[in-house]
């Protein structure tokens, strides 16, 4: 388990956040940045507060979170299992790892119109794009993690008579776990961003949908209030994933 944060570390975090706020405030003083591009913090936080008190955001939030959860679940299961299967053979790793990496480097978002056609304007297309984008870091990191386990550990375990399952649970998984978790964490975050991105291109509901319609109407303060909300969501998601990661790590030590 990670050590508790000291006061100094908390202060640094606060300091960085304060610095961002101060830069934001100074940047938006009259005569600097046009408020249509970046409104000052005060109206944004006023709108943010209204957003929290006004229940209109919850349905959209639920749409986005639901899309994200489904996308991450599919990507995690598919990515980890495929990664595991491929990593079992050094030959398969050499065949498929470059292939998957190559496919991953093709920007899937360009194909979003196809997703719309196949999965519709609603949640389906967002889940599909989120899954596609999150799948690759998960599978690539799973392969990287499992294929790079120190061979001497494996040989040692095998010579002590460990079977496949024992080998996997007590040697492979603990050794590969940090890398796999990094992949899952990356997958979680970029799935969220991809879903938001997909929602801003074409959607019926969701946080991205709200943000883009506010942007089209140049309601900058409200738009940034929604962005603050989305950032907060992403931060919470990251916190949950990190917590799970820490728990998971402890489980293997």
């Amino acid at each position: 388990m990670r050590p508790k944060l000291g006061i100094g570390q908390r202060l640094i975090q606060l300091g960085v956040l304060l610095l961002i706020l101060v830069a934001w405030y100074i940047g938006t003083l009259p005569g600097h940045i046009n408020p249509l591009l970046l409104p000052p913090p005060a109206p944004v936080f006023k709108d943010f507060w209204q957003l929290l008190n006004n229940s209109s955001i919850w349905p959209d939030l639920w749409v986005t979170v639901h899309e994200w959860l489904v996308a991450v679940a599919i990507a995690a299961v598919a990515g980890c299992s495929l990664g595991y299967i491929i990593s079992r053979s050094a030959y398969a790793v050499r065949v498929f790892d470059p292939l998957l990496a190559g496919i991953y480097s093709i920007p899937a978002i360009l194909l979003f119109p196809l997703y719309l056609l196949f999965f519709g304007l609603g949640a389906g297309s967002k889940i599909a794009i989120g899954t596609t984008i999150a799948f690759f870091p998960v599978v690539l990191n799973t392969i990287a993690g499992l294929a790079n386990v120190d061979k001497s550990y494996i040989r040692a375990a095998q010579s002590m008579g460990a079977n496949d399952l024992q080998l996997f649970w007590s040697v492979m998984l603990p050794a590969a776990f940090p890398v796999v978790l990094t992949g899952l964490r990356l997958g979680c975050i970029i799935a969220f961003l991809a879903i938001l991105g997909g929602e801003t291109i074409s959607s019926l509901a969701g946080l991205g949908h709200r943000i883009v319609s506010l942007a089209e109407n140049m309601e900058s303060a409200q738009m940034f209030a929604n962005i603050v909300f989305a950032v907060l969501m992403a931060f919470i998601i990251n916190g949950v994933v990190s917590f799970a990661e820490a728990r998971g790590r402890r489980g293997f030590q």
Partner: protein, 322 residues
């Protein structure tokens, strides 16, 4: 083959390619944005550049395409463009304090837009839209307002049709239509012609059937460009209206140039030319009736607080004098 050598060779060649790449840095006089590269409404800029009409009026025009009007006006507020070719409803941005003003009414009746349905749709006309699902670009955009106006005219009540805010890209409208997620799409009228070729869709009616007195498009100039280079703005507007006159007189050539951008077939492009060309104004003067409709749309969509003073949002001062 050693990995090291090929790695270095490849790295070196990519770097060399990158360094040798010439980045165009011609002196730019007037940066003219539009909100959709593929829309016929903005083709005149391309025609004017190609036919040397802007150059003749002493302006070097650089055309810049945006993916939507909100983005375009943001870029204008950021000082990245001088002129914006956009929707007439974007006057609301001026009302909200964007550093710009409308300098010409570009197009009046909403001929560019239309209601498109699937080819074998049972819908026959505007009356059949009652209770149907219609895709519009956004919850408070001009397509939404036009349909809302239709519902009002027909007296269908607040739930007369179901609006689906699909984001405004042509691809999403067509995807929604061809997969049956919506019954009709309020989008570019020419998409109906395009889909007719493959028997996938057709134009039900042009939105000019809903309102006639309108400002479909307007030309906006940034406050900064009006201060720094008012003559270039004047030159641009003069060139623009000369281009419109040229296009009216040269259908075949205009259709060819347009096809190079829209990718439509000669037949579809010719039909689009015939339908849309009359919407362009010949002198850019703002018409009171159109302004009134736009003002009404602001109220209906709650786009601006209180009574907008429309006279503050535009000026005729930069139009060519005849």
């Amino acid at each position: 083959m050693a990995a090291g050598v090929s790695f270095r060779t490849l790295a070196a060649s990519i770097l060399a390619l990158a360094i040798a790449t010439p980045v165009c840095a011609d002196p730019v006089r007037l940066r003219v944005g539009n909100s959709a590269a593929q829309a016929f409404s903005f083709i005149p800029v391309e025609v004017g550049i190609r036919e040397g009409i802007f150059a003749k009026n002493g302006v070097a025009v650089e055309s810049i395409a945006f993916g939507g009007s909100g983005k375009q006006h943001q870029a204008m507020a950021a000082g990245a463009i001088d002129i914006a070719l956009s929707g007439g409803s974007d006057l609301s941005y001026v009302a909200k304090g964007a550093p710009e003003i409308a300098v010409a009414e570009m197009a009046g009746p909403p001929l560019f837009l239309g209601v498109v349905v699937a080819y074998n749709s049972p819908l026959k006309g505007p009356d059949d839209l009652k209770g149907k699902k219609i895709s519009v670009s956004s919850g408070a955009g001009v397509t939404r307002w036009l349909i809302q106006k239709l519902v009002q005219q027909k007296g269908w009540g607040p739930d007369g049709v179901i609006y689906v805010a699909a984001g405004g890209s042509w691809a999403s409208d067509i995807a929604a239509l061809t997969t049956g997620q919506v019954d009709a799409a309020c989008t570019a009228a020419a998409l109906g012609f395009k889909l007719e070729e493959t028997k996938q869709g057709r134009l039900l009616f042009s939105t000019s059937a809903i309102v006639h007195d309108f400002i479909q498009h307007a030309i906006f100039a940034s406050t900064a460009s009006l201060q720094e280079k008012p003559d270039s703005v004047r030159g641009f507007l003069k060139g623009w209206f000369e281009t419109i006159a040229w296009m009216r007189a040269h259908k075949a050539e205009s259709v060819e140039i347009a096809r190079g951008i829209t990718g439509f077939s000669a037949e579809v492009e010719s039909r689009e030319y015939d339908l849309v060309m009359p919407m362009f104004t010949s002198d850019g003067h703002f018409q009171a009736a159109g302004l009134k409709t736009i003002e009404q749309s602001f109220k209906d969509l709650h786009l601006v607080d209180g009574e907008p003073d429309m006279s503050k949002l535009y000026t005729d001062a930069y139009l060519p004098e005849d």
